[in-house]
Subunit: 241 residues, 4 copies
Amino acid sequence: MIEIGERLLLVGENREYFVTAGEGQFSTDRGMIDLAALAGMNPGDEVRTHLGVPFTVLRPRPTDFFVHAKRSGAPMLPKDIGIVIAYTGMNRDDAVLDAGTGSGVAAIYFGKIAREVKTYEVRPEFARLAEKNIRNARLENVEVVAADMLAATGEFNVVHLDLTITPAHVEHAFSLLSPGGYLSCYTPFLEHTFVALDTAGPLFRDVHCYECIERELTRSTRGTRPSTRVAHSGYVTIARK
Amino acid sequence: MIEIGERLLLVGENREYFVTAGEGQFSTDRGMIDLAALAGMNPGDEVRTHLGVPFTVLRPRPTDFFVHAKRSGAPMLPKDIGIVIAYTGMNRDDAVLDAGTGSGVAAIYFGKIAREVKTYEVRPEFARLAEKNIRNARLENVEVVAADMLAATGEFNVVHLDLTITPAHVEHAFSLLSPGGYLSCYTPFLEHTFVALDTAGPLFRDVHCYECIERELTRSTRGTRPSTRVAHSGYVTIARK
Amino acid sequence: MIEIGERLLLVGENREYFVTAGEGQFSTDRGMIDLAALAGMNPGDEVRTHLGVPFTVLRPRPTDFFVHAKRSGAPMLPKDIGIVIAYTGMNRDDAVLDAGTGSGVAAIYFGKIAREVKTYEVRPEFARLAEKNIRNARLENVEVVAADMLAATGEFNVVHLDLTITPAHVEHAFSLLSPGGYLSCYTPFLEHTFVALDTAGPLFRDVHCYECIERELTRSTRGTRPSTRVAHSGYVTIARK
Amino acid sequence: MIEIGERLLLVGENREYFVTAGEGQFSTDRGMIDLAALAGMNPGDEVRTHLGVPFTVLRPRPTDFFVHAKRSGAPMLPKDIGIVIAYTGMNRDDAVLDAGTGSGVAAIYFGKIAREVKTYEVRPEFARLAEKNIRNARLENVEVVAADMLAATGEFNVVHLDLTITPAHVEHAFSLLSPGGYLSCYTPFLEHTFVALDTAGPLFRDVHCYECIERELTRSTRGTRPSTRVAHSGYVTIARK
């Protein structure tokens, strides 16, 4: 049952809104929605605007936070988050250290999968924004730490770095990992990728660097073809302790 | 603490073995390892061969099952499993239906993330092999069903199809999904991709088809370059109810 | 020596102009250039504006016509023109039939390489524009024909089709080719690509279809990375008689 | 009319041979072909084995030399040769300097397009093999020089470097180019690519670096998909004087 304060997705015909169950009215071009009425409903229920236009009430999934979370910069793309999850084998038994929180999108994805996530962000205003996004996702197992991950202690199954990488970061990540654990480093530029590879090389067991070129295949009445836009995002270096 | 019957990874210098804690000796070119001695140890402990060569004892992660599981055919690659997890936002609250189990590698990945997984496989001998691989992964929340997914009932947050797709499969998947849930279809060939896209188009809310071209960046004393081999694997069609 | 009426490239610091040697003044933000003074000069000579700012006078190369030719639509990209030249082995001994002239950029590239080029364009206004672009490139060996290539006769070493392809086009191309000659078909959409492949398959000896994904590697003080934009253009089907 | 000593392509059903018109017999599994009989024939004529199996006699095209030339190492792939031709706008008016001849395949392509080609190869045995391949292609306008291109003099419209690049090579190339001329550097590794880019950057007007990822689209009764093998070859840096 939906509680007051929960973030929700309202989906209607060609429209999608991200709202909070609670007080007040939410206005759309199809009429007003009473936000208080959402509390007590169940996901999948229908709510109607004062004009009678129906919307389905949904609990957001991690994909929705990628779209709707407030952003402090360009977040990692889902394809790259997926690469990190798959190549580290991230799972419900894992303690994950995430560094370079940004707006917290990766931390939300990880928090919905792993047992616990500590996410480090050196910029206090970014950490505050991420904190808010993570609370909206109702994740109790994700802790935002407004500090450099070099200060982190503890033992983790996965360490994920999305920051301006230095050898010290890679070395500290190694010391934080449990045996068999994985480091992943997300680096948009080759120069930083080389720092990750060259530092991880002598320390870790298996070191690989992947780039995932994602192409959307579009299909319309004109025909089918790969999207005319394909973005480079970054390299993902995966290393196992 | 490690129990009898548990599958384990033994990692030594340039060597890696996949064994079962229990009776008998496991012979390596560095000496014999007493498998009974593994029970009662903890992950990260060291075991030595009768020649004194040390190996670290590790609980396998999903990545290890991709490498070491017995195969009935070519499994989905981790990059594509990652794309499915990321674009469906698969998480611990999810009930997942997986169809086209194959050797069960995707089901193991999903089972380590989702609340419960039902995986359908029409070929009984494949279902049996997958069952064995899944038991080795000690997953209690994954059920192998030796049947066509067209026979499935229930409600799921994610339905993943890795089989020779027909409109009936896509339509049945739609009926099994909860509101806001995701269908993913993995199809190596364009013709099957078109079946997925064309059937999902009128039924689902958001339909996208992605191809992820993965390139490994290799770095050696000769220099750095993308791997000279890049594999096409398949298309991933993602549709939201 | 440069003649009156010749198209020329004037290259100065961060500036590049495409002009015609002849009468009048060409005005730039660095001063006026006397176009009559260009006739009689040699490529590589320097011309100065009335303010004394120097420009180098150059004869345009095919690459310049890609940039400066008047366009009737999106021309083939140089990477794809290069694929056609390389996979057909286009050379100075060749008679080339080009169909779907568009603005004539491919015909200019081909005309600067092959012995003779006939280029067919069904839309008269496109044919006229292409004619003008080709005359600007001072190519005597390129003939623009305002007709469908289905009306073409003669024998060619290479037939290149950049039009909405039908089986009849592929079949007629076959009849026009000399033994050992090559057909190339440029098709943005998969559906048209299939027409090319399926018609050429039983007729031609070697049939291959290529897609060339071009990525620019950018390097700045921030770092080195593939361009964040990569365009899909089209498929190139190559078939040998 | 075909002359004695000319290299020819004999094309039969599922068979293709590269032979020399002249003395002797060429044996195939479909019977013997009299090589003396080829002289005096015309391209497209049919020759028959002593068993009556027909073969078409063809003059080879540059594409055939890529396949049939004796190799001293891995030659540039046609896709990359095409990129060089297209981005330099190579044409019949050009003097081209090619360095790092290897087996001479690129020089043959260039020689069939440009007015004249000088190709430099420091390894004498490679130069001799390239000389032989180029003579087989009956190119009078290609000169093989067994020396480092640093020793080259003259003026060229295009300089193409396929060798272990140093700043000195790039700087010497600049001095050899006519105004508006193009340098192209083919480099398999990123480190060498950086040498090309960083040296060309301050010297040349327009500097771009491209990678062309070629994918073959395969189509069979099983279905249509990109080839499961895609090769990285190298980067092509293009700079204009």
